[in-house]
């Protein structure tokens, strides 16, 4: 049952991902990308990471996709369907990407990953919250400063003239 669900979801996600990189219309690519994000949220649920699934929907779909769609709309001439979507070496690049996949897949099946017998933590969210102000306090604060700096930087760069 779970395996069947995995396969279906994987097919959906990967074909949507292929559409993202091949669709001529960029805006359609962005909406395919949203479908990929949903698929990945589904995998997170399969992995019992509900919090990450919700965060995925919230940040990737709510924020990043919106940003990308805005970028596409604000730079509208690029929508011109007459333009080629790929650069000239796309055939070579496609071969490289396939090779990359083969190598990575070989690696993931060759390496003996250490498997665990531990059980799921009872309240992962509570533990995660405590970790963020405990072990991960410094990265957490750095992430917050990073967001502020990114916001200031984005405003400096994209603000209207005058």
């Amino acid at each position: 049952m779970e395996q069947l669900f995995f396969i279906l979801l994987a097919l959906l996600t990967l074909s949507a991902a292929l559409m993202v990189v091949t669709t001529r219309n960029l805006l359609h690519a962005a909406f395919w990308l949203i479908l990929v994000f949903f698929g990945i949220a589904g995998f997170f649920i399969l992995l019992h990471a509900e919090f990450l699934a919700v965060v995925q929907v919230l940040i990737y779909i709510g924020a990043i996709s919106t940003l990308i769609i805005f970028a596409i709309m604000l730079t509208r001439r690029i929508m011109d369907p007459q333009q080629p979507r790929f650069n000239s070496q796309w055939g070579l690049v496609g071969g490289l990407a396939a090779l990359l996949f083969v190598v990575l897949a070989a690696v993931t099946t060759r390496v003996a990953w250490p498997t665990t017998s531990a059980t799921l933590p009872a309240e992962p969210i509570k533990q995660l919250g405590a970790d963020f102000v405990g072990v991960y306090a410094v990265p957490f604060e750095v992430a917050s400063v990073l967001l502020v700096v990114a916001m200031i930087g984005a405003i400096i760069i994209a603000r209207e003239r005058g």
Binding site: A29, A63, I68, G94, T108, T116, V135
Partner: protein, 102 residues
């Protein structure tokens, strides 16, 4: 239960597709979309490893949360740059950005 390698192969495929998008696409926004695919592949890896190899601590969780946070910041700055360049050039095609040669 789904074996761990299924997730890893899935992530590898997604990563390769994203890489193709990055290298083959002409439009800067499309390249950014490829990068997002790659980051998502990494997140699948992190959570699959968490689930199958290191359940006790939430390292994979925390890592994935930070990846998503950084991705948001990165996308914000990237989109700002695209818009600024589009205002000057009327294009964000990577191949047409050729003010400098050498």
């Amino acid at each position: 239960m789904v074996p761990l390698t299924w997730y890893l192969v899935l992530a590898a495929a997604l990563f390769a597709i994203g890489m193709f998008g990055v290298l083959a696409r002409k439009n800067a926004v499309a390249v950014l979309m490829g990068v997002e695919l790659m980051l998502n592949a990494v997140n699948i890896n992190l959570l699959a490893f968490w689930r199958y190899t290191a359940l006790g601590e939430l390292v994979g969780h925390a890592f994935a949360v930070f990846v998503i946070t950084v991705a948001a910041a990165e996308a914000a700055v990237g989109v700002a740059l695209f818009i600024a360049v589009y205002r000057q050039r009327d294009t964000v095609n990577v191949e047409e950005l050729d003010a400098m040669k050498g």
